[in-house]
Amino acid sequence: MAEVLPAEGLLATSWLLIALPLAGAAVLLLGGRRTDRWGHLLGTGTVVAAFLLAVLCTVRLADVEGRSVDVDLFTFISTGELDVRAGLLYDPLSAVFVLLITGVGALIHVYSIGYMAHDPARRRFFAYLNLFVAAMLLLVLGNSYVALYVGWEGVGLASYLLIAFWYTRPGAATAAKKAFIMNRVGDVGLALAIFVMFAQLGTTSYEGVFGAVGTLAGGTVTALGLLLLLGACGKSGQFPLQAWLPDAMEGPTPVSALIHAATMVTAGVYLIARSAPIYDLSETARTVVMAVGALTLLIGAIAGCAFDDIKKVLAYSTVSQIGYMFLAVGLGPAGYVAALAHLLAHGFFKAGLFLGAGSVMHAMHDQVDMRRFGGLWNKLPITFGTFGLGYLALIGFPFLSGFFTKDAIIEATLDRDDWLGWTTGGVAVLAAGLTAFYMTRLMLMTFFGRPRWEDGVHPHEAPPVMTVPMVALAVGSVFSGALLVAVFPLSDWLEPVFGEPEEAEHVIEPFIIGIALTVIMALGVLAAWLFVGRREVPVTAPVRVSPVTRAARNALYADTINESLFMRPGQWLTRALVWVDNRGVDGAVNGLAAGLGGSSSRLGRTQTGFVRTYALGMLGGAVLVAGALLAVTSG
């Protein structure tokens, strides 16, 4: 890692990036109803201001030597051995995330002004969104694992609050709890990793940990890597903790776009990329990361093919795409840049897709069942256009963003040239075809074919405040890939973090892979047209389907497995513990108390209140004394 300089000038004010949205959230939450009229404008304003500041800071950062600055703020925790400074690390990796979060965040804030216009709790919504942005920025800007953890929990809280935004719906409340609990499972891993760092290294700052991680035993490093991976899996919805993310779509659509597609769920990728020095030392941990990524991207792609809920299809698509990113970061130095490029591109097109889905729902009276859509392309022209561009970018249509970034990941995977590379690469190629299939199915069911609308639905295009962000994101979806790979290479920008990009030896020429992937993509589209587009879409889902479809509809039984493997044994364990506590622990304590109480009340019975009984005792005592005296004197 390059030398980190203390921040000066404009960069020293980068704490404002976090403070602005946090202040917005505080004002909106504490201000109450008084802020109802202008709350959404304030919420949007803070994020837009943060975005402008982030652009300025990043431009300044480009001129700083080493392109990394440290902003020391204050002492967060100070105990005998542990001294945690609260500080920020503004380096190229943080800058990329800050720009993504504030940029996409600002667009989605603007969109939300229109989307939530009729919701009475719009102010609360913007307060939570601002809270999320602040926490997410702390997550990516913190200069230590503890700061990251604070942000990590903050985004978890914001996610919980926003999934349950319509908390009167039982589904939303349950989904929020599910997300929260499954996130906690991952957070245990992250917390344990931080504990291990402190116990073994005595520090939790990135600088200290990465400087000393080489001195640790191999097993410890692997354990650290696996624990961090568990944390990343929980936050990013990766196998085996992927089940919460589709359910999280119960929240408002802008939330799905911002938190559960573009930013928060990519925090796991950030964590692993940030911990690159740890993973570089552990081949095992990286292999596990790759395996998790490959498995998840396949699961997400399969499940995405079966659902009829437009947001759930997009959610499984997110799971799958983050699987690609995990696969890439698992590759090590060869894949970090590819993963981050895909992350940025995905942030654009998936946010755009979700906003488009929100626009469709807006037009269809909050209907999410794709079987009730159809023929919307001429009713919602702008939505159709932006959604279509996002769709093409996602399936990897040549020269759109997904084409560049996904190809780079598959290339890098195949370049490993070993069994792991070939297996996971093969899975990734297969999933690329599946992606084309399910996204084409979604497009066909939503925008083409005969209208299958419910009675009384009159689709209309969304207001400009919603369409403008969609257009902006569509533009990003189209050009970001080319921009990041060819025009303004991300690898150069990230060089201070991940080092000089090495010229890989290609096993297969990149253009061959590009052509092959295009062909596979075309096959997926063709298959979708054959299965879905050619015939009439039934309004209700067919019941008699193959076992494969049934499994896919149940998301490969992830919930069932979780329940039978963890929930029920957990319940049994809890009941057993409660029993032991009630009967064993309480029994011992209560028994002791009852024994004492009983014996004391039994002793108390000797106090009869009859003065003659007491006198008898006195005489008994006198007899004893007399006997003792006699024994002593005569003895």
Binding site: S601, Q607, G609, F610, R612
Partner: protein, 99 residues
Amino acid sequence: MTLTYYLVLAAILFTIGAVGVLVRRNAIVVFMCIELMLNSVNLTLVTFARATGTVDGQIMAFFVMVVAAAEVVVGLAIIMSIYRTRRSASVDDANLLKY
């Protein structure tokens, strides 16, 4: 015949008084038993005064009588007032001071 006889007689009287306190329930009779015990002690004191050749024992017996008189007066007054409120002179009826 020695002074021991007086002392043993006093011990027996004392014991009878003590047993009387234990077995009788009429508060006035219990009082009389206590008087008997005091009297037996007086006998002991007088006997030892004679044995040691000083009048101090007699003085002690004299004080015991004074204290006994005071005690009887107050005790009987207490019995009277208890009898007035409870219509009973049995020591077993006043047994509220317990567990």
